[in-house]
């Protein structure tokens, strides 16, 4: 999965959301290549704890935000309807810092980017699922919503309990550790500081 390749530490000072940033990627032959990337920050802490809401398999984008609310003006207007076809009361119950634990294929369906935006706007700090649908995954990265793949936690998880995520290592729940993928820096590491970013912006005529 792609998320395993997000750099371990995204720098939070040099650039701001919406900037075009240069990233260095290494393909499997070890060849380096430069890419520009639109930054939407994923703020990753080393360790965090949150109260859990449990959802099932195949939570689709129409459940996350039904089509009829997409015409509302802002994400803040829409977020109260998040997950409403499944659990109309859920959006009102979620508090900042909560975590969603779900089954397989979370985020399947439409490419609507409002889906990860709404989950983030509700205050969810990460979604832990057995697997994620690919467009949703990409959209989440672009919108700074942290996703973690974990095959077993969902089956053991009880709603309302808390879990602790130790980034790159495991999720702690009920005295048990559930391993999660590390985020290898050798696959994609962001080049330090604004110098090169500025240089690349100039190269592309964006500054």
């Amino acid at each position: 999965m792609f998320f395993a390749k997000i750099p371990r530490h995204t720098r939070q000072n040099a650039i701001t959301e919406g900037d075009l940033e240069c990233i260095l990627t290494h393909n499997c032959e070890g060849t380096e290549q430069l890419s520009l990337y639109l930054v939407r920050y994923i703020r990753i802490m080393e360790k965090f704890t949150g109260r859990v809401w449990v959802l099932g398999d195949d939570i689709d984008t129409d459940i996350i935000i039904p089509t009829e609310y997409l015409a509302l003006k802002t994400i803040d207007d829409m977020k109260q309807y998040g997950f409403s076809p499944l659990r109309p009361e859920l959006a009102g119950q979620i508090q900042k810092g909560d975590i969603i634990v779900a089954g397989k294929n979370f985020g399947c369906g439409s490419s609507r980017e409002q889906a990860p935006e709404i989950i983030k706007a509700l205050g969810i700090q990460c979604v832990i699922a057995k697997s994620f649908a690919r467009i949703f995954f990409r959209n989440s990265i672009n919108n700074g919503l942290l996703l973690i793949e974990q095959p077993d936690l969902h089956d053991d998880m009880k709603e309302g309990d808390t879990v602790t995520v130790v980034m790159n290592e495991h999720v702690d729940y009920n005295g048990k550790q559930y391993p999660i993928a590390s985020l290898p820096e050798n696959l994609m590491s962001i080049i330090q500081a604004g110098g090169l970013v500025k240089a690349m912006r100039k190269l592309n005529g964006l500054d």
């Binding site: 919406g18 393909n27 499997c28 195949d58 039904p66 089509t67 009829e68 399947c108 490419s111 990409r138």
Partner: protein
């Protein structure tokens, strides 16, 4: 090592000799399509989030209004105006009311060998002509629009070896639902579904679109066919040349292979609320419906309208049912007029609508109410997809949908 069609398209777009699954490449995009579902968001980001925005190549962009066309409320009118004005200011190809975006793209733009991003999940349809189309969100779209490039993680390919020929009365729609029922709604997550074999050759371009279009419902990044003589003929008819025609190498690597004998496929229905909840159509027969929908980028082509018209000719739509017939493009609509199909549908009591996404995305027209049941040739049957959260959507072929509209309950043409 050999490469698949999808890998060859990515390699060409990345300007390298070869790629393999897991590689990340920066690619040049051949085209970018965006519709009224999210273009207003892209325009907002373009204007407000970038310091000095510009467009890499306006000729690569296509904007299509199809999701709520004509606009149905001041809010959609405003977002469409934003899209229309931006297209005009920047000299971007702009289509409004001419058809569902993927149908418009196939009829007018898509060429074999191209790599196309669309801000719509069903962009995977373009594999019908041997192109690599994939759906992205509006941030990815914006990035592609500004730089002309994007990054892709090279996906693994899954081979679907098709043998035999579809029996009379069984459609490509039944085939793709059968395949998704077998592999599951995330059975090909982040992978490419490559359709090949003698059976693939028997399928029309319209059939191929039906298959590729729903690749995303199995989680796939795209679905793809080799561009063969049929594809070349289609291109010629539409006045286009291929960018490049790729074939999968004999030693290309596939993560999995499936074989489907087309002659064994039977009419099927996907029951609520998941596309992979597929059963033989007979098992769903008898379920009462309130609405039937024949249309969408999946099944609104002339071939589908012919199937429906043949079944409903001389019969009447049940008085318990609204039967919506929505040609996927104006080209199709006009062809149907010429063939007298629209007359047949209207005579039977159907509501024939202008080309748009209609009830398939649950916001245009034909939205269903509390506890109502829809049988649809659309793309999805998620909970609440077509309207009220308590409503239900069944997915079936043009034949099953039309027969159901007549019967007032899910039915096969043989029962009519």
């Amino acid at each position: 090592m050999g490469m698949t069609i999808a890998e060859k398209i990515i390699a060409a777009a990345a300007g390298v000799d070869s790629v393999k699954p897991g590689d990340i490449h920066t690619v040049q995009l051949d085209r970018l399509m965006s519709n009224d579902g999210t273009t207003h968001l892209t325009v907002d980001m373009y204007k407000n989030k970038l310091n000095h925005p510009h467009i890499a190549d306006t000729k690569k962009l296509v904007f299509i209004v199809d999701h709520n066309v004509p606009s149905d409320c001041p809010k959609t009118a405003a977002s469409q105006k934003k899209m229309r004005d931006f297209a005009k200011e920047n000299n971007i190809d702009f289509w409004e009311g001419k058809g569902v975006c993927h149908q418009v793209m196939i009829e007018n733009y898509v060429r074999p060998g191209e790599l196309i991003f669309g801000a719509d999940s069903h962009t995977c349809s373009y594999g019908a002509l041997g192109a690599f189309g994939t759906g992205v969100g509006c941030t990815d779209f914006l990035y592609g629009m500004v730089t002309g490039t994007s990054w892709v993680l090279v996906p693994e390919s899954v081979k679907f070896n098709l043998t035999g020929k579809l029996p009379e009365g069984v459609t490509a729609r039944d085939l793709i639902l059968t395949i998704i029922g077998e592999v599951g709604a995330n059975g090909c997550n982040y992978q490419v579904m490559e359709f090949t074999g003698e059976g693939a050759k028997t399928l029309s371009i319209s059939d191929r679109m039906t298959l590729c279009n729903m690749a995303v419902e199995a989680g796939a990044k795209t679905g793809i066919f080799e561009a063969d003589e049929k594809a070349m003929e289609y291109l010629k008819e539409h006045g286009r040349e291929p960018k490049a025609v790729f074939h999968s190498d004999p030693d290309a690597k596939y993560i999995r292979e499936y074989t489907f004998d087309l002659s064994k496929v039977r009419p099927v229905v996907a029951k609520p609320d998941f596309v992979d909840n597929v059963v033989p159509a007979e098992e769903a027969c008898g379920i009462e419906i309130n609405e039937a929908f024949l249309g969408s980028c999946n099944n609104g082509r002339i071939e589908d309208l012919r199937v429906g018209a043949e079944i409903i000719k001389g019969k009447k739509v049940s008085d318990k049912v609204r039967f919506l017939v929505v040609p996927a493009s104006q080209t199709i609509y006009r062809q149907a007029l010429k063939e007298g199909l629209i007359d047949i549908f209207m005579e039977a009591g159907a509501i024939v609508m202008n080309p748009n996404c209609s009830v398939c995305w649950g916001s245009c027209q034909g939205v269903i109410g509390e506890n109502e049941v829809l049988i649809s040739t659309g793309t999805r049957n998620f909970k609440g997809r077509a309207g009220h959260p308590s409503s239900k959507v069944y997915l079936g072929s043009a034949a099953t949908v039309t027969a159901s509209a007549i019967a007032g309950k899910i039915a096969l043409p043989s029962e009519i």
